[in-house]
């Protein structure tokens, strides 16, 4: 009789553990999903801001057509890939960020442009959007790290295996220009 109760007790504890671990995993997975949605919102915001920026800048920087086109192209490419995975998107968003950086660096050389109220407002919006992208990326990656830890660490890894939870993908933005040193030529 006593043995029966002990077995029953162990079974109940086991079931409670499985429920707890499963719910914990679902909670972490939802947090990752939510964090990803946050990044998405900010990336969309950047797509929306760029045409405005290009329009505003166009009138001032006559000789920088290539820079402007590069930004527009990078934006269109990134927007097209907006349903792709984190790794693919990271590459395209990195390219867009680099092109934008070049455009804003070019803008520094045009005092008239920098005095334009519209441009200043856009610049603040873009700076903030860039920050929001990196903060949401930061939060997303933290969430993914915690989720992956739960999936891979004992004992929750057993539950994760039973219900086939897949580990999350980190969102790394790779900026090609940042890796190689700037080229300086004295001619």
């Amino acid at each position: 009789m006593l043995a029966l109760w002990i077995v029953l007790g162990i079974v109940v504890i086991l079931i409670l553990f499985i429920i707890g671990a499963y719910n914990g995993l679902v909670g972490f997975r939802n947090q990752v999903k939510n964090a990803w949605a946050q990044i998405d919102v900010q990336l969309k915001r950047r797509y929306d801001l760029i045409p405005n920026l290009v329009e505003t800048v166009k009138g001032y920087v006559k000789h920088e057509r290539e820079t402007l086109e590069a930004v527009t192209n990078a934006r269109n490419l990134a927007q097209k890939a907006s349903s792709a995975g984190a790794a693919e998107r990271g590459k395209l968003e990195g390219a867009l960020g680099a092109a934008l950086g070049r455009l804003l660096a070019v803008a520094e050389a045009y005092p008239d442009l920098k005095a334009n109220q519209n441009f200043l407002a856009l610049q603040e919006e873009l700076t903030s959007t860039e920050n929001k992208i990196s903060f949401s990326r930061q939060y997303y990656n933290d969430s993914v790290l915690k989720f992956n830890n739960k999936i891979q660490m004992f004992p929750s890894n057993v539950i994760a295996g039973m219900f086939s939870f897949k580990i999350g993908e980190f969102f790394e933005v790779t900026v090609a220009a940042e890796k190689e040193p700037p080229k300086v030529s004295f001619t």
């Binding site: 947090q31 964090a35 946050q38 900010q42 968003e93 990195g94 960020g97 680099a98 934008l100 950086g101 804003l104 660096a105 520094e108 920098k114 200043l120 407002a121 610049q123 603040e124 919006e125 873009l126 700076t127 903030s128 860039e130 920050n131 929001k132 992208i133 990196s134 903060f135 949401s136 930061q138 939060y139 933290d142 969430s143 790290l145 933005v173 900026v175 220009a177 940042e178």
Partner: protein, 412 residues
Amino acid sequence: MWEQIRSNQVRSVILIALIAGLLLAVGYFLGLYFFDSAVGGLVIALVVWAIMSLIAFYQGDSILLGMAKARKIKSDDAPRLYNVVEEMKIASGLEKMPDIYIIDDPALNAFATGRDPSRASVAITTGLLQKLSRDELQGVIGHEIAHIKNRDVLLMAITSVMLGTIVILSWYASRFLLFGAMTGSGRRTSSRGGGGGAQAIILIVGLVLMILAPILAQLIYYAISRKREYLADASSALYTRYPEGLASALEKIGGSTRQLKSANQATAPMYTVNPFRKEGMKAADLTSTHPPISERVRILRSMAGGASLADYNDAYRKVRSGKQGIISKNAAAAVGAVGIRQASLSVPGELGLAPGKAAGKAAPGTHDASDIMLRLDKWRTVDCECGARWKIPPGFRDNNILCTRCGRRIRL
């Protein structure tokens, strides 16, 4: 992060339990003196506490904001402030955007309020808004959002209500006791003549407790508050990945000795820095709601290795040269290595974007903030062709003004 909050909650719960114990003890003796039964006193203490708690829970934030004379703003009124708050909301993973308030005061301070993370507010003085660069503002807002995220606001509300109850009860009780003893008509002495020595001892213990309880409760309250400040600093560094921002903001705030007009002792712990600080406060000061600014700055600046909670913990230990950190070891190790980002103004950010130069950005910001305040007061602005901008007070009746810079008449 979650582990860190939990481990701190344990410590905070112990301290709250201490205050609650004091409250019950005060009620117990109150009952013994005035009603001949401890239960009566306990009931009174609990009723007073419950009423004050309900008020604090449902009306606390509006009372606080009203006392500080804060005004709510929208994103168009102060785009930069709004953006920075949203950035920190995202970085901390807060579910809902907090309401943003501006306090029209040249003093440099900010605070957060709200009973839970989904209905929170942050308030900042116009003085501070004008003084800070974008990075510094981010650090300060990160600190306030951390207070919300770590549920400090609720914690401090609970403790301050208990403190308030203890102060009120023991004030009245000790006055009545003293008055009764002087006139010789106290119930205790007349109802039971032959109480003996035990009775007298209880009386004295009770009286001593009545006098000491408010002081003890206050010290505990301060201890909780100081701990929470360090934690909010650590979280701010983690959110912004840039401890220098908060450090230099604190330095600017510390350099100013203006006191906030609308703060009082009860609301002091809600602010970024103690609104009643004086020069040369020491680290061991037990009667302060905030750690000394110089020490907070030194800790933030010692975070050489990274911006994680573990890095803050190491810096804290180094600066205070003690063994114990502010954050528990498991919690600090929960999130992996976290790098410090570059200053956002001089170096391209993570996504290769180069914002304007530091000097170029700070200058328009100062004007923007005061313009927003004026716009809120229904002032109008008009731009002259020479580039000067004129601010027109709401009661101005003429249809043109003279630009004193170039001599032109500007039509309104």
